[in-house]
Structure formats: structure tokens, C-alpha cells
Symmetry: C2
Subunit: 152 residues, 2 copies
Amino acid sequence: MHDHQRYFEDFRVGQRFESGGLTITEDAIIGFAAQWDPQPFHLDAEYARTKGHFGGLIASGLHTMCATLRLWLADRIFIDCTIGSPGVDEARFLKPVRPGDTLRVVTELLELRPSRSKPDRGSVKMRHTTLNQHGETVMTMDARVILRKRPA
Amino acid sequence: MHDHQRYFEDFRVGQRFESGGLTITEDAIIGFAAQWDPQPFHLDAEYARTKGHFGGLIASGLHTMCATLRLWLADRIFIDCTIGSPGVDEARFLKPVRPGDTLRVVTELLELRPSRSKPDRGSVKMRHTTLNQHGETVMTMDARVILRKRPA
């Protein structure tokens, strides 16, 4: 156990964490879309400008979710005590993410619940709010993660 | 307009679509994790085998979501009439996805709702069920997409 080791018991409802930033380039938007979400408004700048509903290329919602996870994990808040995640709820794509936007994530702990069946762990529900460089919320999503309790 | 062009009006609740398959290699699991979800049970086979809770490397839940979207889109069901997506609900990671697993997706249309404010479009809610090569459900998620109506 080193200085930064934290466990389920070390967190409380209402805690907030703010991430660093990640700039989403046009190349990254197109590269992500080509691999996972090949729809023309994510993939083809000319189509997006002339025929899309957003006036230009926008990032895949899953790209924004992935960027959100990466930014959250970079601060290593839960990194040594996470067992896994049972799921994600209510991902909402509220504003387009466009080439050159810089995203950051504010994370709030909404709920902490010890496991009833397994005494060595508990679950945390958190809300990630992803903002762009103008302070506009581009996405929110809730994630649940299972954390180890402090060894007896 | 070509033969395959479909619109909001061409779909109905209860329709089901089955995708092809995608095999998730160990390299793909580690590559995805390195970029988006660098947690040791996704990234480090030795850690995952000896210290993880799943007895070996498992894919990021977001990797499974991305693979699900790719498999769904490959059949181009909505490809020419999609405007965008407002969000994703209730992604549930039900069983681990391990190196070499081949995923496929069954998609069912749950709800079709014309827009009240915009007469040129409607929304569809669908459930993606992602299965492995043993027929086990590894993930479910619900997605909402906005579709164009047939031009008047």
C-alpha cells in the first residue's frame, strides 16, 4: 500500500473532481468515426458542412464518452481500487463537439452504497459533466463503478 | 433517392435486426484501453490474470459499446436518414468480453415517436443486445436516434 491508495471508505457523496483538458482535433473525430461510428456527419467534412444538420463535422457521441473517461481516469482518483463497472446511464449529447474543441470533465459522486452480498466492496454512482472551452455542457453521463473496501 | 433510401415512416416497433460478427483480439482490447480506458484489468494481461477480479484481461465497457455501434451501423439500416442521437441509456456490462470473443448485435426497435415541434423528423428508441460466440448476452444498451421523415 502506498500513499495514494484509496478505498471505498475514503469517498463521500457530493465530492467533486475537475479534470484537465483534451482537445478534439478534426483528424481525431474522423479517425474515431472511421473505426466505430462511420456516419457521414462524423466522417465527411464536406457532407457535414453542406448536408448535415449541424453546419459542420461533429464528434461521435461515443467519442465524447471515451474522451470523458480518459480525462476522468487521468487523475487516478479510483485507479487502484476499481473492480469494474456494471454500467452507464443517461448519456446525453447536449451540444455538438466540433474540431478544435477542448473538453474537460467535472465529476460529482452521487451515491455510495456498500454491497449487501460482498463485504469487501461497495458501489459508487457518479455524474460526469463534460464541458467545452466556452463552459458549455456538451454531455452528461452517469457511471457506476465497484470499489474495493479497505482490507480488514 | 436510391432504392435503399429509408425514412422514419419505413420502420415499426418490434422490428429486429441481426448484425454480422466482430472478433475482439487481445491487441484490440489493450489498444482501446491504452487510448481511452487505461485501467490495469483492461491493459495488463499479467495484472488481470493475477490480481484482477475476472481471471484475465477483459475489454473496456466502452470498447464493447463501440463494437456494438460499429456492428449495428455496418448493416446501414438508418444510414441515410439519421440526423443525430440525443443519447444512450442503461448500458449494462453483463458478462466480461475476453480476447478472442466474437460479438454480434441484435437490435430491436422499442419506440417510434414523431417530433411534436419539427414535422420533418421523428425519434426511434432501440435496444442493442450484444452477444458472444456462446450466445451469452455480454451487454445491453438503449439508444435514441433522430430520423428524417420522407420528404413531402
